[in-house]
Protein backbone atom coordinates (compact mmCIF):
# COMPACT_ATOMS: atom_id res chain seq x y z
CA UNK A 1 0.00 0.00 0.00
CA UNK A 2 1.63 3.21 -1.18
CA UNK A 3 1.68 6.06 1.33
CA UNK A 4 1.04 9.48 -0.17
CA UNK A 5 0.48 12.98 1.18
CA UNK A 6 -2.52 15.26 0.92
CA UNK A 7 -0.63 17.54 -1.48
CA UNK A 8 0.05 14.77 -3.99
CA UNK A 9 -3.33 12.98 -3.98
CA UNK A 10 -4.70 14.43 -7.20
CA UNK A 11 -1.41 13.94 -9.07
CA UNK A 12 -1.03 10.33 -7.93
CA UNK A 13 -4.62 9.53 -8.78
CA UNK A 14 -4.31 11.16 -12.20
CA UNK A 15 -1.27 9.00 -12.95
CA UNK A 16 -3.20 5.87 -12.02
CA UNK A 17 -6.06 6.92 -14.27
CA UNK A 18 -3.62 7.44 -17.12
CA UNK A 19 -2.34 3.92 -16.48
CA UNK A 20 -5.88 2.57 -17.05
CA UNK A 21 -6.80 1.95 -13.43
CA UNK A 22 -10.48 1.92 -12.44
CA UNK A 23 -11.50 3.50 -9.13
CA UNK A 24 -13.14 0.95 -6.85
CA UNK A 25 -13.73 3.07 -3.78
CA UNK A 26 -12.35 5.18 -0.94
CA UNK A 27 -12.33 3.75 2.60
CA UNK A 28 -12.10 6.24 5.46
CA UNK A 29 -11.24 5.31 9.04
CA UNK A 30 -10.82 7.47 12.13
CA UNK A 31 -7.23 6.70 13.17
CA UNK A 32 -7.15 8.58 16.48
CA UNK A 33 -8.38 11.81 18.01
CA UNK A 34 -6.43 13.87 15.48
CA UNK A 35 -6.30 11.99 12.19
CA UNK A 36 -8.29 10.24 9.51
CA UNK A 37 -6.96 7.57 7.22
CA UNK A 38 -8.21 7.26 3.64
CA UNK A 39 -7.40 4.32 1.41
CA UNK A 40 -7.98 4.88 -2.30
CA UNK A 41 -8.56 1.52 -4.00
CA UNK A 42 -8.07 1.00 -7.74
CA UNK A 43 -8.43 -2.03 -9.95
CA UNK A 44 -6.92 -3.13 -13.23
CA UNK A 45 -7.55 -6.63 -14.54
CA UNK A 46 -8.57 -7.82 -11.08
CA UNK A 47 -5.37 -6.59 -9.40
CA UNK A 48 -5.91 -3.97 -6.71
CA UNK A 49 -3.70 -0.94 -6.12
CA UNK A 50 -4.02 1.13 -2.98
CA UNK A 51 -3.00 4.62 -1.97
CA UNK A 52 -3.09 5.58 1.69
CA UNK A 53 -3.18 9.13 2.99
CA UNK A 54 -3.46 10.49 6.53
CA UNK A 55 -5.60 13.59 6.86
CA UNK A 56 -5.44 15.71 10.04
CA UNK A 57 -8.87 16.53 11.45
CA UNK A 58 -10.04 20.03 10.70
CA UNK A 59 -8.39 20.15 7.28
CA UNK A 60 -10.07 19.67 3.90
CA UNK A 61 -8.98 16.91 1.58
CA UNK A 62 -8.63 17.61 -2.16
CA UNK A 63 -11.43 15.91 -4.07
CA UNK A 64 -10.57 13.51 -6.89
CA UNK A 65 -14.04 13.84 -8.46
CA UNK A 66 -12.46 15.98 -11.19
CA UNK A 67 -10.34 13.01 -12.16
CA UNK A 68 -12.75 10.18 -11.37
CA UNK A 69 -16.38 11.39 -11.59
CA UNK A 70 -17.45 8.22 -9.82
CA UNK A 71 -15.76 9.32 -6.58
CA UNK A 72 -18.39 12.00 -6.00
CA UNK A 73 -20.78 9.74 -4.10
CA UNK A 74 -18.18 8.20 -1.83
CA UNK A 75 -16.60 11.55 -1.05
CA UNK A 76 -20.02 12.90 -0.15
CA UNK A 77 -20.56 9.82 1.99
CA UNK A 78 -17.31 10.46 3.86
CA UNK A 79 -18.39 14.06 4.43
CA UNK A 80 -21.61 12.74 5.98
CA UNK A 81 -20.14 10.01 8.09
CA UNK A 82 -16.79 11.44 9.20
CA UNK A 83 -17.25 15.19 8.90
CA UNK A 84 -14.15 15.27 6.70
CA UNK A 85 -14.75 17.84 3.97
CA UNK A 86 -13.50 17.64 0.38
CA UNK A 87 -12.35 20.62 -1.66
CA UNK A 88 -13.52 20.83 -5.27
CA UNK A 89 -16.28 18.21 -5.17
CA UNK A 90 -18.14 18.25 -8.49
CA UNK A 91 -21.52 17.75 -6.83
CA UNK A 92 -21.38 18.71 -3.16
CA UNK A 93 -24.34 17.61 -1.06
CA UNK A 94 -22.85 19.52 1.87
CA UNK A 95 -23.04 16.69 4.41
CA UNK A 96 -26.63 15.82 3.45
CA UNK A 97 -26.22 12.91 1.04
CA UNK A 98 -27.59 10.49 3.62
CA UNK A 99 -28.29 12.75 6.58
CA UNK A 100 -30.91 15.40 7.09
CA UNK A 101 -29.75 18.96 7.65
CA UNK A 102 -30.86 19.03 11.26
CA UNK A 103 -28.61 16.08 12.17
CA UNK A 104 -25.39 17.46 13.61
CA UNK A 105 -23.85 14.29 15.05
CA UNK A 106 -21.12 12.77 12.92
CA UNK A 107 -22.02 9.06 12.87
CA UNK A 108 -18.63 7.35 12.44
CA UNK A 109 -16.49 9.82 14.29
CA UNK A 110 -17.07 8.93 17.93
CA UNK A 111 -20.29 10.89 18.00
CA UNK A 112 -18.58 14.27 17.81
CA UNK A 113 -20.64 17.18 16.68
CA UNK A 114 -20.42 18.71 13.22
CA UNK A 115 -19.34 22.32 13.26
CA UNK A 116 -21.84 23.60 10.69
CA UNK A 117 -24.04 22.20 8.03
CA UNK A 118 -22.94 23.50 4.65
CA UNK A 119 -25.87 24.88 2.67
Amino acid sequence: MKEITMETIVGEVSMLKSAGQRLVTLSCTELDADNFDIIYTFDKELVLTHLRVTIPKGTSCPSISGVYFTSLLVENEIQDQFGLMFDGLILDFGRTLYLDEEITTIPLCNNTKAMTVKK
Partner: protein, 358 residues
Protein backbone atom coordinates in the same frame (compact mmCIF):
# COMPACT_ATOMS: atom_id res chain seq x y z
CA UNK B 1 -37.01 25.57 -24.71
CA UNK B 2 -38.51 25.58 -21.24
CA UNK B 3 -36.56 23.60 -18.67
CA UNK B 4 -38.55 21.79 -16.03
CA UNK B 5 -37.44 19.75 -13.06
CA UNK B 6 -39.42 16.54 -12.68
CA UNK B 7 -39.09 14.59 -9.43
CA UNK B 8 -38.65 10.88 -10.17
CA UNK B 9 -39.33 8.93 -6.99
CA UNK B 10 -38.69 8.34 -4.17
CA UNK B 11 -41.86 6.25 -4.48
CA UNK B 12 -42.70 4.95 -7.94
CA UNK B 13 -44.46 1.97 -9.47
CA UNK B 14 -41.52 0.01 -10.86
CA UNK B 15 -38.97 0.27 -8.09
CA UNK B 16 -40.12 -0.80 -4.66
CA UNK B 17 -37.33 1.13 -2.96
CA UNK B 18 -36.94 4.85 -2.35
CA UNK B 19 -34.56 6.39 -4.86
CA UNK B 20 -35.16 9.97 -5.89
CA UNK B 21 -33.82 11.61 -9.03
CA UNK B 22 -34.27 15.25 -9.93
CA UNK B 23 -34.65 15.14 -13.70
CA UNK B 24 -34.03 18.38 -15.58
CA UNK B 25 -36.05 18.01 -18.79
CA UNK B 26 -36.56 20.02 -21.96
CA UNK B 27 -39.59 18.93 -24.02
CA UNK B 28 -39.58 15.52 -22.33
CA UNK B 29 -35.89 14.98 -23.08
CA UNK B 30 -33.77 14.51 -19.97
CA UNK B 31 -30.86 16.93 -19.87
CA UNK B 32 -29.51 16.28 -16.39
CA UNK B 33 -30.14 13.97 -13.45
CA UNK B 34 -29.26 14.63 -9.82
CA UNK B 35 -29.63 11.80 -7.30
CA UNK B 36 -31.03 12.15 -3.80
CA UNK B 37 -30.35 9.35 -1.35
CA UNK B 38 -30.82 8.89 2.37
CA UNK B 39 -34.48 7.92 2.69
CA UNK B 40 -33.68 4.60 4.35
CA UNK B 41 -30.05 4.82 5.45
CA UNK B 42 -29.44 2.43 8.34
CA UNK B 43 -25.83 2.96 9.43
CA UNK B 44 -24.96 -0.73 9.50
CA UNK B 45 -21.21 0.00 9.34
CA UNK B 46 -21.59 1.88 12.63
CA UNK B 47 -22.86 -1.30 14.27
CA UNK B 48 -19.35 -2.77 14.06
CA UNK B 49 -18.59 -0.68 17.16
CA UNK B 50 -21.06 -2.58 19.32
CA UNK B 51 -21.41 -5.99 17.64
CA UNK B 52 -18.55 -8.47 17.73
CA UNK B 53 -17.13 -9.96 14.57
CA UNK B 54 -19.36 -13.05 14.79
CA UNK B 55 -22.51 -11.00 15.28
CA UNK B 56 -21.51 -8.81 12.33
CA UNK B 57 -22.26 -11.73 10.00
CA UNK B 58 -25.94 -11.31 10.76
CA UNK B 59 -25.60 -7.54 10.31
CA UNK B 60 -23.94 -7.71 6.89
CA UNK B 61 -26.55 -10.22 5.71
CA UNK B 62 -29.07 -7.47 6.25
CA UNK B 63 -27.25 -5.02 3.99
CA UNK B 64 -29.35 -6.61 1.26
CA UNK B 65 -31.86 -9.43 1.57
CA UNK B 66 -31.51 -10.53 -2.04
CA UNK B 67 -27.70 -10.83 -1.81
CA UNK B 68 -27.57 -11.79 1.88
CA UNK B 69 -25.59 -14.98 1.32
CA UNK B 70 -22.99 -13.22 -0.83
CA UNK B 71 -22.50 -10.38 1.67
CA UNK B 72 -21.82 -12.79 4.50
CA UNK B 73 -19.56 -14.81 2.20
CA UNK B 74 -17.47 -11.73 1.42
CA UNK B 75 -17.32 -10.75 5.09
CA UNK B 76 -16.39 -14.25 6.30
CA UNK B 77 -13.72 -14.63 3.61
CA UNK B 78 -12.14 -11.39 4.80
CA UNK B 79 -12.09 -12.47 8.45
CA UNK B 80 -10.75 -15.90 7.48
CA UNK B 81 -7.94 -14.34 5.46
CA UNK B 82 -7.10 -11.98 8.32
CA UNK B 83 -6.96 -14.85 10.80
CA UNK B 84 -5.33 -17.39 8.49
CA UNK B 85 -8.21 -19.86 8.67
CA UNK B 86 -8.27 -22.61 6.05
CA UNK B 87 -11.88 -23.28 5.09
CA UNK B 88 -12.76 -26.95 4.42
CA UNK B 89 -13.34 -27.83 0.76
CA UNK B 90 -16.89 -29.02 1.38
CA UNK B 91 -17.78 -25.66 2.92
CA UNK B 92 -16.35 -23.87 -0.13
CA UNK B 93 -18.56 -25.92 -2.46
CA UNK B 94 -21.63 -25.39 -0.29
CA UNK B 95 -20.95 -21.64 -0.28
CA UNK B 96 -20.75 -21.76 -4.07
CA UNK B 97 -24.07 -23.59 -4.35
CA UNK B 98 -25.96 -21.15 -2.14
CA UNK B 99 -24.36 -18.07 -3.65
CA UNK B 100 -25.31 -19.20 -7.17
CA UNK B 101 -28.85 -19.94 -5.99
CA UNK B 102 -28.93 -16.36 -4.72
CA UNK B 103 -27.70 -15.07 -8.09
CA UNK B 104 -30.45 -17.03 -9.82
CA UNK B 105 -33.28 -15.80 -7.67
CA UNK B 106 -31.97 -12.24 -7.79
CA UNK B 107 -31.77 -12.26 -11.59
CA UNK B 108 -35.18 -13.91 -11.93
CA UNK B 109 -36.67 -11.32 -9.61
CA UNK B 110 -35.06 -8.55 -11.63
CA UNK B 111 -36.13 -9.98 -15.00
CA UNK B 112 -39.71 -10.02 -13.73
CA UNK B 113 -39.51 -6.44 -12.46
CA UNK B 114 -37.91 -5.35 -15.73
CA UNK B 115 -40.79 -6.83 -17.73
CA UNK B 116 -43.19 -5.11 -15.34
CA UNK B 117 -41.40 -1.77 -15.98
CA UNK B 118 -42.69 -1.68 -19.53
CA UNK B 119 -46.05 -3.19 -18.75
CA UNK B 120 -45.43 -6.85 -19.55
CA UNK B 121 -47.33 -8.22 -16.55
CA UNK B 122 -47.61 -11.84 -17.66
CA UNK B 123 -43.86 -12.11 -18.26
CA UNK B 124 -43.28 -10.59 -14.83
CA UNK B 125 -45.40 -13.30 -13.25
CA UNK B 126 -43.71 -16.08 -15.23
CA UNK B 127 -40.27 -15.10 -13.97
CA UNK B 128 -41.46 -14.81 -10.38
CA UNK B 129 -43.20 -18.17 -10.62
CA UNK B 130 -39.90 -19.80 -11.66
CA UNK B 131 -38.09 -17.91 -8.90
CA UNK B 132 -40.32 -19.59 -6.33
CA UNK B 133 -38.58 -22.90 -7.07
CA UNK B 134 -35.27 -21.36 -6.00
CA UNK B 135 -36.83 -19.82 -2.91
CA UNK B 136 -38.25 -23.24 -2.02
CA UNK B 137 -34.74 -24.72 -2.32
CA UNK B 138 -33.41 -22.03 0.01
CA UNK B 139 -36.16 -22.68 2.51
CA UNK B 140 -35.80 -26.47 2.42
CA UNK B 141 -32.01 -26.42 2.75
CA UNK B 142 -31.46 -23.53 5.16
CA UNK B 143 -34.79 -22.94 6.86
CA UNK B 144 -35.17 -19.49 5.37
CA UNK B 145 -36.17 -18.13 1.97
CA UNK B 146 -34.21 -14.91 1.84
CA UNK B 147 -31.71 -14.38 4.65
CA UNK B 148 -30.31 -17.89 4.78
CA UNK B 149 -27.62 -17.39 7.46
CA UNK B 150 -25.47 -20.32 6.39
CA UNK B 151 -22.04 -18.69 6.63
CA UNK B 152 -19.94 -18.68 9.75
CA UNK B 153 -16.31 -17.67 10.12
CA UNK B 154 -14.42 -20.79 9.06
CA UNK B 155 -17.10 -22.39 6.91
CA UNK B 156 -20.84 -23.01 6.89
CA UNK B 157 -23.39 -24.12 9.46
CA UNK B 158 -25.67 -26.15 7.17
CA UNK B 159 -25.02 -29.23 5.11
CA UNK B 160 -26.78 -30.82 2.15
CA UNK B 161 -27.82 -34.44 2.27
CA UNK B 162 -27.57 -36.60 -0.89
CA UNK B 163 -31.39 -36.59 -1.05
CA UNK B 164 -31.45 -32.80 -0.93
CA UNK B 165 -28.81 -32.60 -3.68
CA UNK B 166 -30.87 -34.91 -5.84
CA UNK B 167 -34.03 -32.89 -5.22
CA UNK B 168 -32.19 -29.62 -6.01
CA UNK B 169 -31.04 -31.05 -9.34
CA UNK B 170 -34.61 -32.06 -10.19
CA UNK B 171 -35.93 -28.62 -9.30
CA UNK B 172 -33.18 -26.90 -11.28
CA UNK B 173 -33.89 -29.06 -14.32
CA UNK B 174 -37.51 -27.96 -14.16
CA UNK B 175 -36.51 -24.32 -13.59
CA UNK B 176 -34.15 -24.47 -16.58
CA UNK B 177 -36.91 -25.88 -18.77
CA UNK B 178 -39.28 -23.13 -17.67
CA UNK B 179 -36.70 -20.36 -18.11
CA UNK B 180 -35.87 -21.56 -21.61
CA UNK B 181 -39.57 -21.69 -22.48
CA UNK B 182 -39.77 -17.91 -22.02
CA UNK B 183 -36.32 -17.16 -23.45
CA UNK B 184 -37.69 -16.12 -26.83
CA UNK B 185 -40.21 -13.80 -25.17
CA UNK B 186 -37.70 -11.88 -23.06
CA UNK B 187 -35.05 -11.79 -25.78
CA UNK B 188 -36.98 -11.45 -29.06
CA UNK B 189 -40.44 -10.07 -28.29
CA UNK B 190 -41.23 -6.86 -30.17
CA UNK B 191 -42.27 -4.94 -27.06
CA UNK B 192 -39.17 -5.95 -25.13
CA UNK B 193 -36.81 -5.07 -27.99
CA UNK B 194 -38.60 -1.80 -28.76
CA UNK B 195 -38.34 -0.59 -25.17
CA UNK B 196 -34.80 -1.74 -24.46
CA UNK B 197 -32.63 -1.88 -27.58
CA UNK B 198 -30.56 1.26 -28.03
CA UNK B 199 -32.03 2.71 -24.81
CA UNK B 200 -29.68 3.88 -22.05
CA UNK B 201 -26.45 3.13 -23.89
CA UNK B 202 -23.26 3.00 -21.83
CA UNK B 203 -20.14 2.57 -23.92
CA UNK B 204 -17.33 0.22 -22.94
CA UNK B 205 -15.03 3.14 -22.15
CA UNK B 206 -17.70 4.91 -20.07
CA UNK B 207 -18.56 1.75 -18.16
CA UNK B 208 -14.93 1.18 -17.26
CA UNK B 209 -14.06 4.76 -16.45
CA UNK B 210 -17.21 5.41 -14.42
CA UNK B 211 -16.60 2.30 -12.32
CA UNK B 212 -19.68 0.32 -13.39
CA UNK B 213 -20.05 -3.10 -11.80
CA UNK B 214 -21.59 -6.45 -12.60
CA UNK B 215 -24.02 -6.93 -15.51
CA UNK B 216 -23.94 -3.16 -16.11
CA UNK B 217 -20.20 -3.45 -16.79
CA UNK B 218 -20.39 -6.73 -18.67
CA UNK B 219 -23.37 -5.53 -20.75
CA UNK B 220 -21.01 -2.87 -22.10
CA UNK B 221 -18.42 -5.40 -23.20
CA UNK B 222 -16.01 -5.48 -20.24
CA UNK B 223 -15.33 -9.08 -19.26
CA UNK B 224 -14.79 -8.54 -15.56
CA UNK B 225 -16.39 -10.74 -12.95
CA UNK B 226 -15.07 -11.20 -9.41
CA UNK B 227 -15.63 -14.95 -9.71
CA UNK B 228 -12.51 -14.83 -11.88
CA UNK B 229 -10.67 -14.31 -8.57
CA UNK B 230 -11.43 -17.99 -7.84
CA UNK B 231 -12.92 -17.56 -4.40
CA UNK B 232 -15.00 -20.34 -2.77
CA UNK B 233 -15.00 -23.30 -5.20
CA UNK B 234 -14.74 -21.25 -8.39
CA UNK B 235 -11.16 -22.45 -8.78
CA UNK B 236 -12.51 -25.98 -9.30
CA UNK B 237 -15.51 -25.18 -11.47
CA UNK B 238 -15.28 -24.15 -15.12
CA UNK B 239 -16.75 -20.73 -15.47
CA UNK B 240 -16.97 -18.38 -18.42
CA UNK B 241 -17.80 -14.71 -17.98
CA UNK B 242 -21.03 -13.65 -19.67
CA UNK B 243 -20.46 -10.57 -21.82
CA UNK B 244 -22.62 -8.53 -24.18
CA UNK B 245 -21.33 -5.60 -26.17
CA UNK B 246 -24.25 -3.32 -27.07
CA UNK B 247 -24.18 -1.48 -23.72
CA UNK B 248 -27.93 -0.79 -23.78
CA UNK B 249 -30.76 -1.88 -21.49
CA UNK B 250 -31.31 -4.94 -23.68
CA UNK B 251 -27.67 -6.04 -23.32
CA UNK B 252 -27.84 -5.72 -19.54
CA UNK B 253 -31.03 -7.78 -19.39
CA UNK B 254 -29.50 -10.40 -21.71
CA UNK B 255 -26.44 -10.69 -19.45
CA UNK B 256 -28.70 -11.32 -16.45
CA UNK B 257 -30.80 -13.84 -18.34
CA UNK B 258 -27.72 -15.76 -19.50
CA UNK B 259 -26.20 -15.61 -16.01
CA UNK B 260 -29.37 -17.03 -14.47
CA UNK B 261 -29.10 -20.02 -16.83
CA UNK B 262 -25.35 -20.28 -16.24
CA UNK B 263 -25.89 -20.41 -12.47
CA UNK B 264 -27.91 -23.61 -12.93
CA UNK B 265 -24.87 -25.22 -14.55
CA UNK B 266 -22.59 -23.90 -11.81
CA UNK B 267 -24.82 -25.38 -9.08
CA UNK B 268 -24.89 -28.67 -10.97
CA UNK B 269 -21.10 -28.68 -11.22
CA UNK B 270 -20.72 -27.81 -7.53
CA UNK B 271 -23.10 -30.61 -6.50
CA UNK B 272 -21.29 -33.05 -8.79
CA UNK B 273 -17.94 -32.15 -7.25
CA UNK B 274 -19.13 -31.77 -3.64
CA UNK B 275 -16.39 -33.42 -1.55
CA UNK B 276 -16.81 -35.08 1.82
CA UNK B 277 -15.37 -33.35 4.86
CA UNK B 278 -15.95 -30.87 7.64
CA UNK B 279 -18.32 -27.95 7.42
CA UNK B 280 -16.18 -25.47 9.30
CA UNK B 281 -12.62 -25.09 10.57
CA UNK B 282 -12.14 -24.48 14.27
CA UNK B 283 -10.19 -21.37 15.23
CA UNK B 284 -9.22 -19.25 18.21
CA UNK B 285 -8.52 -15.60 18.71
CA UNK B 286 -9.71 -12.37 17.21
CA UNK B 287 -9.01 -10.70 13.86
CA UNK B 288 -6.08 -8.32 13.64
CA UNK B 289 -4.85 -6.30 10.68
CA UNK B 290 -6.40 -4.91 7.54
CA UNK B 291 -8.04 -6.73 4.67
CA UNK B 292 -9.83 -5.88 1.44
CA UNK B 293 -11.90 -8.66 -0.04
CA UNK B 294 -14.15 -8.85 -3.09
CA UNK B 295 -16.86 -11.15 -4.39
CA UNK B 296 -19.35 -11.04 -7.26
CA UNK B 297 -22.87 -10.32 -6.09
CA UNK B 298 -25.80 -10.70 -8.48
CA UNK B 299 -25.59 -6.95 -9.06
CA UNK B 300 -21.82 -6.86 -9.38
CA UNK B 301 -18.60 -6.45 -7.50
CA UNK B 302 -18.92 -6.10 -3.74
CA UNK B 303 -15.91 -4.98 -1.72
CA UNK B 304 -15.32 -5.12 2.02
CA UNK B 305 -12.56 -3.28 3.82
CA UNK B 306 -12.09 -4.48 7.39
CA UNK B 307 -9.72 -3.45 10.11
CA UNK B 308 -9.24 -5.58 13.21
CA UNK B 309 -7.30 -4.69 16.35
CA UNK B 310 -7.05 -8.03 18.09
CA UNK B 311 -10.26 -7.54 20.09
CA UNK B 312 -13.59 -9.12 19.24
CA UNK B 313 -14.77 -5.80 17.80
CA UNK B 314 -13.63 -4.66 14.39
CA UNK B 315 -12.34 -1.13 14.20
CA UNK B 316 -13.87 -0.51 10.81
CA UNK B 317 -16.11 -2.32 8.37
CA UNK B 318 -16.48 -0.54 5.05
CA UNK B 319 -18.87 -1.98 2.48
CA UNK B 320 -18.77 -0.88 -1.16
CA UNK B 321 -21.87 -2.28 -2.85
CA UNK B 322 -22.45 -2.62 -6.61
CA UNK B 323 -25.43 -0.27 -6.80
CA UNK B 324 -23.34 2.45 -5.15
CA UNK B 325 -20.84 1.97 -7.99
CA UNK B 326 -23.55 1.93 -10.65
CA UNK B 327 -25.18 5.24 -9.76
CA UNK B 328 -22.54 7.45 -11.50
CA UNK B 329 -22.88 5.39 -14.73
CA UNK B 330 -26.66 5.77 -14.42
CA UNK B 331 -26.25 9.55 -14.22
CA UNK B 332 -24.25 9.36 -17.45
CA UNK B 333 -26.90 7.24 -19.20
CA UNK B 334 -29.94 9.40 -18.47
CA UNK B 335 -29.17 12.67 -20.33
CA UNK B 336 -30.65 12.55 -23.84
CA UNK B 337 -33.33 10.00 -23.00
CA UNK B 338 -37.05 10.49 -23.37
CA UNK B 339 -38.78 10.78 -20.01
CA UNK B 340 -40.79 7.59 -20.65
CA UNK B 341 -37.57 5.57 -20.91
CA UNK B 342 -36.23 6.69 -17.53
CA UNK B 343 -37.93 3.94 -15.44
CA UNK B 344 -36.65 1.24 -17.79
CA UNK B 345 -33.08 2.56 -17.76
CA UNK B 346 -33.06 3.09 -13.99
CA UNK B 347 -34.24 -0.48 -13.55
CA UNK B 348 -31.66 -1.74 -16.05
CA UNK B 349 -28.82 -1.24 -13.55
CA UNK B 350 -30.77 -3.37 -11.04
CA UNK B 351 -30.71 -0.69 -8.36
CA UNK B 352 -30.72 -1.95 -4.79
CA UNK B 353 -31.30 0.95 -2.45
CA UNK B 354 -31.01 -1.38 0.51
CA UNK B 355 -27.36 -1.96 -0.51
CA UNK B 356 -26.72 1.68 -1.25
CA UNK B 357 -28.16 2.85 2.06
CA UNK B 358 -26.50 0.20 4.20
Amino acid sequence: MARTIIPFGPQHPVLPEPLHLKLVVEDEIVREAIPALGYVHRGLEKLAEIRDFHQMIQIVERVCGICSMVHSLCYCQGIEEMMGIEVPERAKYLRTIWSELHRMHSHLLWLGLFADAFGFESLFMQFWRIRERIMDINEATTGSRVIVSVNVVGGVRQDLTPEQCSWILTELAQAEKEIKSIQSTILTDYTVCKRTQGVGVLSKEQAYELGAAGPTLRGSGVAQDMRQLKYAAFDKIDFETVVETAGDSYARSKVRFREAVQSIDLVRAAIAGLPQGDLAAPFKGNPEGEIITRVEQPRGECMYYMKGNGTKFLERVRIRTPTFANIPPLLAMLPGLELADVPVVVLSIDPCISCTER
